[in-house]
């Protein structure tokens, strides 16, 4: 009699919690099962077939992502049948995909090629050599490269289940199944909010970023990821700046922003259009990187922080003295932290004595 919360996976006893699938239980135990259409944020669909396992008593192989663990279940994930299935399945995928891994992984790493490499010994099939028409879309951020799409529908389901936007859909049938907006319109004209979640969840780089910096960058796996907090608003989403250390004559450059994996940060790997795509200000020539003071000649000149703060304080004090504190108003930025915003209202109310203070994220 087996314990009510245990399953047997390849002779290893694992505990599971009520409601967990076979995949959940094995992942928590650190066993790796291949997946392509799975994302912990989405309802499992079992469509990519890569996580099929043998469950004792079941005639057919079962998708681990969709099959609930039940007490005493006996599961084999690496026997001959399962491995043969994985090999032929992946070889089929590759027969309809960009064959050369280095060509395929010019941007994001390709999960399909990674699985194929891990598994090895794949039958070599004749490529189907389907013709793909490049699809132009005038939006500046996201492009779809259909020759890399494996129709796992992660992007479609993310857009629906996480963002609630429903800008894209599976379209067509059979081998011609692919991703599209309604009637193939531009993402600009659709309900799309350009959050780029589709780019993030795509396992094969079919949904790709087309910002000039990232398009011209080295493959993602050669970039250094620096975890930081998005400063576009107060939500505090975690993001990974992808830095090319060799770029900009060795000074390094942020060439892309990616999300931390789902489940590893409070924002669960989600970002908005600003966090994901509006990073090119970092090295932009127009960006202010030093205070500027207007000189007697009427032009702005670089100055030290001490000089700039002194001039600002003097100006504010002069207005307050001449016209009263309520002649002043303080507006701070949503890109400041909460602590900074707190200090701004302190400055306004306690130092100058006016309630004319506002912050653009307050409404």
């Amino acid at each position: 009699m087996s314990a009510p919360d245990q399953i047997l996976v390849d002779d290893q006893t694992l505990k599971f919690c009520p409601g967990e699938t076979i995949l959940d239980a094995t992942r928590r135990a650190g066993c790796s099962l291949p997946t392509l259409c799975h994302d912990p944020r989405l309802e499992p669909v079992g469509a990519c077939r890569s996580c099929l396992v043998e469950v004792k008593g079941q005639r057919r192989l079962m998708p681990a992502c969709k099959t609930p663990a039940s007490p005493g279940m006996q599961i084999e994930t690496r026997n001959e049948r399962v491995l043969r299935h994985q090999r032929v399945l992946l070889s089929l995928y590759l027969s309809d995909h960009v064959g050369d891994p280095s060509e395929c992984e010019d941007g994001a790493p390709c999960e399909l090629h990674a699985l194929a490499k891990d598994l090895g010994n794949l039958p070599v099939l004749v490529p189907l050599q389907r013709k793909h028409k490049p699809r132009a879309d005038r939006n500046p951020f996201i492009e779809f490269r259909s020759e890399r799409c494996i129709a796992c529908a992660r992007c479609v389901r993310y857009c629906d289940e996480v963002e609630g936007v429903n800008a894209i859909t599976l379209t067509g049938r059979g081998l011609h199944t692919t991703i599209s907006t309604a009637s193939g319109i531009s993402l600009y004209d659709s309900t799309c909010e350009l959050c780029g979640g589709c780019v993030d969840v795509c396992p094969t780089g079919a949904m790709a970023e087309k910002m000039p910096l990232s398009a011209g960058a080295a493959p993602e796996r050669e970039l250094e990821k620096v975890r930081t907090t998005c400063n576009y608003c107060g939500v505090g989403c975690q993001m990974d700046l992808n830095v090319d250390r060799a770029a900009a004559a060795g000074r390094g450059q942020v060439v892309k922003v990616t999300s931390p994996p789902a489940g590893t940060a409070p924002s669960d790997g989600n970002l908005c259009v600003k966090g994901r795509f509006a990073y090119d200000f970092i090295d932009h020539p127009d960006r202010l990187s030093t205070p500027l003071l207007r000189g007697a000649d009427g032009n702005l000149h670089p100055a030290s922080w001490e000089a700039a703060l002194e001039r600002t304080a003097a100006g504010l004090q002069e207005v307050a003295k001449k016209h009263g504190a309520d002649a002043l108003a303080f507006v701070s930025s949503a890109r400041c932290t909460m602590e900074e915003n707190y200090l701004v209202q302190k400055l306004s109310r306690a130092v100058f004595g006016t309630n004319n203070v506002h912050q653009c994220a307050a409404t």
Partner: protein
């Protein structure tokens, strides 16, 4: 056409989505404005509406071409010559999957109207006008049946008899009660006639046993397995049996609503069924039982029960994972009893004539079976014969073979091919499974010695590739890969082209979500197994003489 003011979007419930395909159909040819209008009207996102439109071949026709059926039986009857004749007559055409007219080939389709037994002469005379072709052929779509005259003795469905609107079967069900109805099905040994041969009473008991008070009955009239046209004939000739059977099922499992899902090309059967329903509702024959119709829109996969449910809910017809089975979570998540038309039509007779009579009517398994016979036989048509007759017995009733029997497909394209040496094997669920084939929907296609099996297999592979829903990779890519392999062999005569066929067929069986992918390689693997002489390197593999 639709304005915001009459939009139910604000109050839309899940059933509103079911209207998406129908609204797209009413708008005619696909357009972005049409998609937006349907989205506004139903509250379903425009992208989803477009996803639905692009899935169904009858909704996605961006031209008004005439379609020529390229199913195996129509090809054997000269569909290719017809395509050429259309070219000559400047009638713009495109091929289409089987349209359930295999007994009267070759058939043509425009939008949803079918014309049967078209000759190249008809086409040339039509001078490029489908309307002319259609009016010349008339709308009577009934084919030949056997027994050809009403026969109360042996025949259970008795297709030749006039409809009987007395609802005696339903009255009997009310009299004996739900438990006894289900028991009668069990004693009769009724197996589902849609293809799997699953014992019907198990499904009925399962749905009846569900605690959920809302339950549905769904009639699977999406008859699209190439070589099959029996449900068409039942609905054209005996709508009474179908309605009675549905009402009995609803009474037995405790369902208040019945959905009739008919393939889109079944406009005439639908009209007949609608008239029958209207008359029944008029006289309140089945109490307050509600009947609804839903047309398919050109997708073979929707004959698979869970794809049918998705389609009925107004989505892309992609099969669901089982379990949960529809008996527990079916239409809109409620317990649902889904049956093929023939299974349902047999129910009243079982109640009226008794389980024992039904059992005795079969030869190797209980009941009679409607065999759809087409291809190289003298009189193609629907034959009601004891379940388990052999091919020879069946063809004898049909006036004999045309030419020398070489191969046959016992249950539609999904059953693959069997050699002539199996001519005495009982055509039933068990005996055919023993030779890795199946009775399926009993669409029996007979091929004579003039047919090259590489050619015949190629037709079937093209069909499965075209009809794969695309959800899972083994089927989506596998069907295309098998087709491409055979094509390379037929072009170059290089047997190397077929080296991965068995491996991929194995994966399609193991890895595909539903039966389409699991059986899609069978035409090729069975042809390779039984007719290796047609796959010798450098054999021509041309069309039959």
């Amino acid at each position: 056409m639709y304005t915001r003011s009459d939009s139910p979007a604000m109050t839309h419930d899940k059933k509103t989505r079911a209207h998406v395909p129908e609204l797209l159909q009413q708008l005619g040819q696909p357009s972005a404005a049409g998609v937006d209008a349907v989205a506004r009207h139903t509250g379903v996102p425009a992208a989803d509406v477009f996803g639905v439109e692009s899935f169904y071949s009858l909704l996605d026709q961006r031209d008004l071409k005439t379609r020529v059926c390229t199913g195996l039986s129509c090809r054997l009857a000269g569909a290719e010559d017809l395509l050429k004749a259309c070219d000559k007559a400047r009638l713009e055409t495109a091929p289409t999957s089987c349209i359930a007219a295999c007994d009267r080939p070759p058939a043509m389709l425009r939008e949803r109207r079918v014309v049967c037994e078209v000759t190249t002469g008809d086409v040339l005379e039509s001078q490029g006008s489908f309307e002319k072709l259609y009016s010349a052929a008339g709308s009577d779509w009934r084919g030949s049946i056997w027994p050809a005259t009403a026969d109360e003795g042996e025949s259970l469905l008795n297709l030749a008899a006039a409809p009987n609107w007395s609802a005696a079967g339903y009255a009997k069900a009310l009299e004996i009660g739900p438990e006894a109805v289900i028991q009668a099905l069990e004693e009769a040994g009724l197996q589902g006639r849609g293809g799997a041969g699953f014992p019907a009473h198990i499904k009925w008991s399962a749905v009846r046993g569900e605690a959920e008070p809302v339950k549905y009955i769904v009639l699977n009239g999406d008859e699209a397995e190439p070589g099959t046209f029996k449900d068409r004939e039942i609905m054209l000739r005996r709508p009474d049996l179908v309605l009675d059977g549905l009402a009995i099922a609803a009474h037995a499992v405790g369902a208040g609503e019945v959905w009739l899902y008919l393939r889109g090309e079944f406009e005439i059967p639908r009209e007949i069924m609608e008239r029958a329903v209207a008359a029944a509702e008029e006289e309140e024959r089945y109490g307050d039982l509600a009947f609804h119709f839903h047309s398919g829109h050109g997708a073979y996969i929707c004959g698979e029960e869970t794809a049918l449910l998705e389609s009925l809910e107004g989505r892309r017809g992609m099969p669901r994972h089982k379990p949960p089975f529809p008996t527990a979570q079916g239409l809109w998540g409620k317990p649902t009893l889904i049956h093929n038309v023939e299974t349902i039509a047999l129910v009243p007779t079982i109640l009226l004539r008794g389980a024992e009579f039904f059992r005795q009517a079969g030869k190797t398994q209980p009941g009679t079976k409607l065999y759809c016979l087409s291809g190289h036989v003298a009189r193609p048509g629907v034959y009601e014969m004891p379940l388990g007759v052999s091919l020879d017995e069946l063809v004898e009733a049909a006036g004999g073979y045309i030419g020398e029997l070489k191969a046959f497909s016992p249950g539609g394209a999904s059953s693959g091919f069997l050699p002539a040496s199996e001519r005495a094997r009982p055509l039933d669920f068990q005996a055919l499974a023993e030779v890795d084939s199946m009775l399926g929907s009993a669409g029996v296609v007979v091929l004579n010695e003039g047919v090259n099996m590489a050619w015949a297999a190629a037709e079937q592979l093209e069909f499965f590739e075209r009809e794969s829903c695309g959800q899972c990779a083994p089927c989506r890519i596998g069907t295309a890969y098998q087709r491409a392999s055979l094509e390379r062999f037929r072009e170059d005569g290089d047997a190397q082209a077929l080296e991965h066929v068995d491996n991929i067929a194995w994966e399609m069986i193991e890895g595909s979500i539903c039966g389409l992918g699991q059986t899609a390689s069978l035409p090729l693997t069975s042809a390779l197994r039984h007719f290796p002489e047609d796959f010798v390197a450098n054999s021509s593999g041309g069309a039959p003489q």
